[in-house]
């Protein structure tokens, strides 16, 4: 009866990538946990982070790079921590048209690579990755900001760029629209770069561990349920956000396309260790992140106290539920 009001925010606009976590709404997991969750969307983590730092937003979904970069001398530390690893594998890919002669990252010498915007976090990673091959930006290759969606698609098709470096889900969407794409292989260490996870204010983590666990648990159940029944997950998402349902195409086409996109995302959300270990961070991964950002010139030193940025304290309690029951419930959902 007495539900606790909790606000949860994404630093991007709503898209199918958010569907797994939001399956918790459709399955009623938040409600079960006594949480009345309002969901907000912000344009960029720079807009969202201050909201969490001011406790206007309780929980957020965020990539680690702004946090790592904030660990600079003379900067006030942000009073926030990530407490749940949401995406284990890097969602970024470099794609080329299927009939392109380019086969590996090596072939990108002298080519134009499209990125969403120069300010995107993955640009650093891409630069570092190509640096490993001895290539430097401007000299050996050029990055072209092309935006997402139609413009990026168009740029790749008309040859203004040779390769495109965006999120996996964007690429899948293009394929749904008829594009024939091929993904260039990444080195394992780049592929295994973690990405977004849950974040909260230090005070919340200290004073309301119960709330943190309750929220994390419900969200985790949502991901598991979605993984068990992607079709129901898509339908749940469309029910929550009817405007995200495409206007063009038949019902079945829309559903098929959406499920394809969703499965791409789910692949990055399920940890290699299996469903019981959802949300763990390793210190190496964080260190690796700092090294990358240092190599890319964003951090003056790679030797930063990354352990202040995250905590694994809650993961055990969060995973303390019956995953099989969740899978079963999801499978029986329409």
């Amino acid at each position: 009866a007495d539900m606790e009001k909790v606000s949860f925010a994404y630093p991007t606009n709503i898209s199918l990538s958010n569907a797994p976590t939001l399956m918790a709404v459709g399955m009623g997991y938040f409600k079960e946990a006594g949480l009345d969750v309002s969901i907000n969307f912000f344009q960029g983590s720079a807009v969202m982070l201050p909201q969490i730092a001011q406790k206007h937003v309780t929980f957020g979904w965020i990539t680690p790079d702004p946090l790592v970069v904030s660990l600079q001398p003379k900067r006030d530390p942000l009073p926030v921590k990530m407490f749940y690893n949401g995406i284990y594998l890097s969602p970024f890919e470099i794609v080329v048209p299927a009939d392109s002669p380019l086969q590996s990252l090596k072939d990108l010498k002298g080519k134009k690579i499209g990125v969403g915007a120069m300010s995107w976090g993955n640009v650093l990673v891409t630069e570092t990755m190509l640096k490993d091959l001895g290539y430097t930006q401007q000299k050996d290759y050029t990055l072209v900001p092309v935006g997402v969606g139609p413009t990026a698609f168009r740029a790749l098709q008309d040859g203004s760029i040779d390769a495109l470096n965006l999120f996996d889900t964007f690429h899948t969407q293009m394929e749904n629209r008829g594009a024939k794409l091929r993904r260039l292989p990444f080195e394992k260490k780049y592929r295994e770069l973690f990405s977004s996870g849950l974040i909260a204010h230090n005070d919340t983590l200290k004073e309301r561990p119960d709330l943190v666990v309750a929220f994390g648990k419900a969200a985790t159940k949502g991901v598991i349920a979605c993984n068990a029944n992607p079709v129901a997950c898509v339908k749940n998402f469309w029910k929550l956000y009817p405007n995200t349902k495409p206007a063009q195409g038949t019902e079945q086409e829309k559903l098929d396309d959406a499920v394809k996109v969703l499965q791409v995302r789910l692949k990055t959300m399920i940890p290699p260790e299996g469903l019981k270990e959802m949300g763990y961070y390793t210190e190496e991964a964080w260190k690796h992140y700092a090294e990358l950002l240092h190599a890319g010139g964003q951090l003056p030193t790679a030797d930063v106290p990354v352990q202040t940025l995250y905590t694994n304290d809650f993961v055990k309690s969060i995973n303390d539920f019956d995953a099989d029951a969740v899978v079963a419930a999801a499978k029986s959902k329409e």
Partner: protein
């Protein structure tokens, strides 16, 4: 009557021509439908949106923040524009900061606005007010400065108070400028509402556009853009109508007098 016919008929003709060009560009130039949707798809989106009713809450959310912010922004702009026009001291102290504030892209200061005003409708209203402010401010200032000197002298001879002069001479004399400002601000305020919804919102036409664009759903994007256009057009038409009705003395209209 004929006048009304023309005001409706001509734009309708152009609209038809545009739609024909739209269809032709898709058919002839093979513009892909992830870039420009087919008119049918947009129509369908509009139907789903407004007949089945899914867009209405978004439409009203945007309308509400736009209207409140517009009224606040324009009101403030008239007051401050008048102050700056009336006093060299105010001008020196305020003018550079107003230009400074306005030269800063609002998107860049959005985080501050969100922190101060929250991410509810308040921050959208503030953004609309900020956007509507500047054209009104400049036009009010220039308009008031241009008031015919003889009329001001007339009032000064009678020691009329500043307020009296403002309402009886300066405001009507600046009416042309003010209405021009009001028209510009309609459009800018609307953009302010949409942009602030881009930055953070779970409602509104701006949010719909952003969400649709992420999902590559161009038909919905176009449907929402058309809704915005409808609001913008109604707003400017309303201002133009008020302009004609209220500023009846406007010289050009009475030129040499109209004969029957």
């Amino acid at each position: 009557m004929q006048e009304i016919m023309k005001t409706i008929l001509y734009p309708a003709l152009t609209a038809l021509a545009l739609i024909a060009a739209w269809i032709a560009s898709i058919e002839v130039f093979n513009v892909p439908n992830y870039l420009v949707p087919e008119p049918g798809a947009v129509l369908h989106a509009l139907k789903v949106g407004y007949i089945d009713g899914q867009y209405w809450p978004h439409f009203f959310f945007t309308l509400k923040s736009a209207v409140i912010g517009y009224v606040m922004g324009c009101g403030l702009a008239i007051v401050i524009g008048t102050m700056v026009a009336e006093s060299r001291t105010f001008e020196r102290f305020l003018y550079p900061y107003i230009v400074a504030l306005q030269s800063t892209p609002k998107i860049a200061i959005a985080p501050l606005i969100l922190v101060w005003f929250g991410f509810g409708i308040e921050s959208k209203v503030v953004m609309v007010a900020l956007m509507s402010f500047f054209p009104m401010f400049i036009n009010t200032m220039v308009g008031i400065r241009q008031t015919n000197a003889s009329m001001l002298n007339l009032m000064q001879v009678f020691s009329a108070s500043r307020t009296h002069i403002f309402f009886n001479v300066k405001l009507p004399a600046a009416a042309g400028h003010i209405f021009a400002g009001l028209q510009i601000s309609v459009v800018l305020g609307l953009i302010g509402a949409v942009v602030s919804e881009f930055v953070s919102s779970t409602q509104g036409l701006g949010y719909m556009i952003q969400a649709a664009s992420v999902n590559m759903d161009v038909a919905t994007m176009f449907a929402c853009l058309l809704s915005l256009v409808a609001i913008g057009l109604s707003g400017t038409q309303l201002i133009r109508y008020l302009h004609r009705k209220l500023v009846f003395w406007d010289e050009t209209h009475n030129a040499m007098g109209q004969t029957e």
